[in-house]
């Protein structure tokens, strides 16, 4: 990992508020006083109940939305510049593939938009198809694939330009539990190979613990960060399915759960404790 003192953080969020104006009503404060740093190569999960602003925070970092106040830097540049320079790759809960394009054409979309020539695109697509284990599916159309396969294609697309930062907004949220666990292990493997920093939005506690170096716990009304927990389960490359049955895994799951539930006395709605 590069030296933190000389390399700028992958993400640095300082004092960010986001207030949504409501027509003829009181404005909704989606985020207030958020400070967050993600080191290069670090895997950070944002977890919290629905309405805690975790997706809003991710959208602000991706420059898909603008903060009301505060500053957001990605690799030392403002979020807007970072987006224009394609500093990050992004994946959403929906795969958001273009149905009229083949799997290969979907993966190469970012490269094509940025003027990479055809041969270089084809080479990169072949690499990525290998990486996601869909080598024989390049010529298929999205609706011929299962939901898990579509999401893998979306992840390959987000990796196309070898970004130093991956922003993922509940990418496995729409998948069944078995596929989801397989995809999590897959993501760990991909991440170990690319060394990218990842900011991962989820509402599943085991998912956050299994994947992350650090879990950031958020709470709603108004959306804010209430706790940050280090997960010491080893590097991505060393984590495997066995970890899910490991005592240290359960310890961390319990810690995150307590951090989530400690924030208000009622049951925290919207949080998966699967």
């Amino acid at each position: 990992m590069p030296d933190a003192a000389t390399t700028p953080a992958a993400v640095r969020v300082t004092g960010v508020d986001r207030v949504f104006p409501v027509k003829g009503g009181t404005p909704v404060t989606a985020l207030t006083g958020v400070d967050l740093t993600v080191a290069p190569g670090e895997f950070v999960s944002l977890i919290g109940p629905s309405g805690c602003g975790k997706s809003t925070l991710l959208r602000l970092i991706a420059d898909l939305d603008e903060a009301t106040s505060g500053s957001i830097e990605v690799f030392g540049t403002p979020a807007r510049t970072a987006r224009a320079r394609r500093a990050y790759g992004i994946a959403f809960q929906q795969a958001a593939l273009l149905p009229w394009r083949t799997v290969s054409a979907n993966i190469e979309l970012p490269l094509q938009l940025h003027g990479i020539d055809r041969r270089a695109r084809a080479d990169r697509v072949a690499e990525l198809l290998d990486l996601i284990g869909l080598r024989d599916f390049g010529g298929h159309f999205p609706d011929q694939l299962s939901g898990g396969m579509q999401q893998r294609v979306a992840i390959a697309r987000s990796l196309a330009e070898e970004p130093g930062l991956l922003l993922m907004d509940e990418p496995f949220g729409a998948l069944d539990e078995m596929t989801r666990e397989r995809m999590q292990t897959e993501l760990l493997r991909i991440r170990a190979r690319t060394g990218a920093a990842v900011l991962f939005v989820t509402h599943s506690i085991p998912e956050a613990v299994y994947l992350s170096d650090r879990v950031v716990v958020m709470s709603p009304r108004p959306g804010r960060i209430t706790a940050q927990l280090e997960v010491r389960l080893g590097a991505a490359a060393e984590r495997s399915e066995d970890l899910r049955e490991d005592a240290s895994f359960f310890t961390d799951v319990t810690a995150v759960r307590e951090a989530l539930h400690g924030q208000d006395s009622g049951p925290s709605r919207g949080v998966d404790v699967r």
């Binding site: 959208r59 991706a62 420059d63 898909l64 987006r83 224009a84 320079r85 394609r86 990050y88 992004i90 959403f92 929906q94 958001a96 273009l98 009229w100 394009r101 083949t102 979309l109 970012p110 094509q112 938009l113 940025h114 010529g139 159309f141």
Partner: protein, 255 residues
Amino acid sequence: MNPGVEAVLKRVLPPLALLVFGIALVQLLVTALSIPPFVLASPAAIWAEIVAYLPAIASATLVTGMNALWGLLLGSVIGIALAVLASRTRVIDGMLAPIVAAIAVVPIVALAPVLYTMFGSTSETARILIAGIAAFVPVFLNTLRGLRQVRSVQRDLFRALAATPGQVIRTLTIPAALPHFFTGLRVASSLAVISALVAEYFGGPRQGLGAAITTAAANSAYARAWAFVLGAIVLGLAFFLITSLIERAFTRFAR
């Protein structure tokens, strides 16, 4: 036999056999029951008229066909242009929607006599306009729906990829709209033919298919009227086939 050819034959032969059987049956009935030609013209008589009047049928088909084609082009271009405007500006959408809804339920050919007096009885302009208005409605409605197919997550993706507005239109908006546009175009192409032809029933120049059919029927030349009707059928099929081929060329779905 080549499996491709075999597949085509399997699809084409049964309806063709039915058609031949139907024609033979009609011929048999007409001859056996000595049905008068004003009730039902015999296929043999119609065939004789087709052979005798082939150049006249061809030129009448061409006249009506050109009216339908110009109308289809005019209606499509205006339909696409207004759909693009309406998809971008809510105000224009609000102004257009009720008017198009009104046009959609008005029998446009009813305008024919009025337009003939406007443009003069020797001009084909009125018919092109009628075909154009008829074609405009489905093209406009379907293209507008197509332009609204882009989902917000796709928009987010293109924004995250720092795509230029031109790239968004070329790579996202147009491909998403195409299937709907072609649905509209297919409906419009048959409407344009029907409108151009029926408009001829209400007056104007006499060179087209519609005029030829009414003239033949008025002169008790029933078999000849049928011969011109066949010209109209061929014309309608040609428009349908051509729009289907264009659609195929543009939609690169492998299914």
